[in-house]
Symmetry: C2
Subunit: 362 residues, 2 copies
């Protein structure tokens, strides 16, 4: 069988060692006589898994004690509602509009009755192909927060430097580059991320919230209230226990590799190989401003829809799967998350080279 | 190693055949070269899993075409908010208060601004040890719905017959006895259930909703809006893909066994063995009204707290684990879901017999 390289934007490839470890103890975790899936979330054996996951994540990201870690459900999409619901009390929330997911975050925030939404900057004028300039002085100190999407999965851009706002917390949807870029946690008030790209399987959402943002307010639901989840250590109701276990294995895998500095180096090598080929190609181009390129999601195009389709189907036959671009950008997209191996990028670039020779320049 | 029998109330024991099947294809699902966890939720291979899960569930429960099946996140606890948010437009919602989980459902519904909550009946006067009589004529036809908890996990009671209300839909939290009791789907407007008892792993929530309940309304969040999830076939955002796959395996396991009629028979045999022993015991008693006994969650007590603790720790040493009762009822609780094997009940009853001989009657 041809080896498969999975370029999916998420759910995405997981580390082979993590999958093998999970498989080996799938029926009987640590001689407990049961699968992790069968354990009470209130048992000491599961609580150890949860604590180990938190400890490893704190170590990886250098998370200080004044930040709480939550493992929730509902994905980034439910955070689009929870963030404004919890963090805004008749204040204005500022959003930077950098792509499809930012737009959804904005549109969901607008539905909350007590929230006023203001768009701080946008790159919609050029199909979100760059990260817009942000005027840090235009946000008043009374603002609830400023929301950014650190990496734009669909458009392939990411924030290389973060904006700073005096007294106003920065909130980030970090779904597609958490644990794969080197950010300083102290620059953020709140970070959220769906697990299915760099953390673990889908159905788990990570929230990291600074303690001072847990303010008194009236909430319409315990399940939508960060205070309740913090108070109950993510065990207010039954969490996605197997997802937390898989995340723990993933965090430990990354620590054993050398943590964020090592994975950033690898991610830059992987994306560098692909960008370098694109930059010298006579057939393939990147639709993204060079200064704002993501190292995680890399769209590229031939400029010819039929040729793009041909590329996607021939790539698939070679085991290079899920490389079709999102319909809003077109062409191809290679998602190179932490678990994606270098040899998959090499194989892709080799195929691009062959394809280019066959189909000439533009 | 002693074989473990897991009496946990949830997350709970899963069918051994289901776990073994999932383990065998954990790294490479159907020669796709990837784990189910690594698949895009928009790939045809995953969509087949989702459709197979729905087809099997429709067959098991006899679900007609005018009901939609949704696989969501957030557990029954998030449904406590979603049900009133979606189903009530300045109407009164009626709740039957039969235990800890009903109380939470009521308390969450009360937080929704446009909802008026009325308690239709309660058994709190006797620590929820029975199912109260319901006056079917006391609910006006203008009511939004009547909410019941079909099986009370903590208290060990369940509805043996369902109330009927002309023109007013019955909404049920069926978390702890879905697929393990024989209900007629046509008696309900909406059913919801956390997966972690009779369906699959935690982190997945099943919602079955009758089409006419998808009414026009303003919702504060797409993620809390049944219409959005129905329109997108549970793929509005990334669902718990592995949970859906495990649920599919569980549904297929149950179908192969003979479906609901067969499992109800088995569940009655398992619970019957335990109840029969309790009814003849000089040491153990059931705190639950005989007519309202659950076949899924069976609390029992010695009447002596020290003796209860001794029983729990000696049982554990024999591999009979997670049998400690909930603090609000005390004593012990045996949760006998679909996947719990008869030999575990036999082993429990044998141990109860030994324990009773050793510690005499009361």
């Amino acid at each position: 069988m041809t080896k498969t390289y999975n370029f999916s934007a998420g759910p995405a490839v997981l580390p082979q060692e993590v999958l093998e470890k999970a498989q080996s103890e799938f029926l009987n975790y640590q001689e407990s006589g049961m699968s992790v899936m069968e354990m009470s979330h209130r048992s000491s054996i599961f609580e150890n898994i949860l604590e180990d996951a938190k400890t490893a994540l704190r170590q990886l990201m250098g998370i200080p004690e004044n930040y709480h870690l939550l493992f929730l459900q509902g994905g980034a999409s439910l955070q689009f509602t929870m963030v404004p619901l919890n963090l805004t009390q008749n204040q204005t929330a500022y959003y930077v509009d950098t792509g499809s997911w930012s737009k959804k975050a904005i549109s969901e925030a607008k539905k909350i009755p007590h929230v006023t939404v203001s768009k701080l900057a946008s790159s919609e004028d050029k199909n979100f192909s760059y990260i817009p300039e942000i005027d840090e002085n235009s946000v008043p100190s009374t603002a609830a927060y400023v929301h950014i999407t650190t990496n734009n999965t669909i458009e392939g851009t990411s924030f290389q430097t973060l904006p700073h706002f005096k007294d106003v917390p920065l909130v980030a949807d970090m779904s597609s580059n958490i644990l794969s870029n080197d950010y300083d946690i102290n620059d953020f008030g709140l970070i959220y991320a769906g697990a299915q790209k760099n953390i673990g399987p889908a159905g788990l959402t990570l929230v990291i919230i600074r303690d001072d943002l847990l303010k008194d307010h009236i909430n319409i639901s315990n399940m939508l209230d960060y205070r309740i989840h913090v108070k109950n250590n993510s065990l207010y109701n039954t969490p996605n226990t197997f997802g937390i276990y898989m995340a723990k294995l993933g965090f430990e895998w990354l620590l054993a590799k050398g943590g964020i500095p090592e994975i950033v180096k690898e991610n830059k090598e992987k994306s560098g190989l692909l960008y370098d080929f694109i930059d010298h190609s006579k057939l393939f181009t990147s639709p993204v401003a060079q200064k704002d390129r993501s190292i995680n999601n890399i769209p590229f195009l031939t400029g010819n829809k039929e040729l793009d389709s041909k590329f996607v189907s021939e790539a698939e036959a070679l085991g290079l799967v899920n490389i079709k671009g999102h319909r809003s950008v077109g062409g191809m997209r290679a998602s190179l998350y932490n678990a994606f191996p270098m040899e998959g990028v090499e194989k892709l670039v080799n195929f691009m080279e062959t394809f280019e020779k066959e189909h000439g320049g533009k």
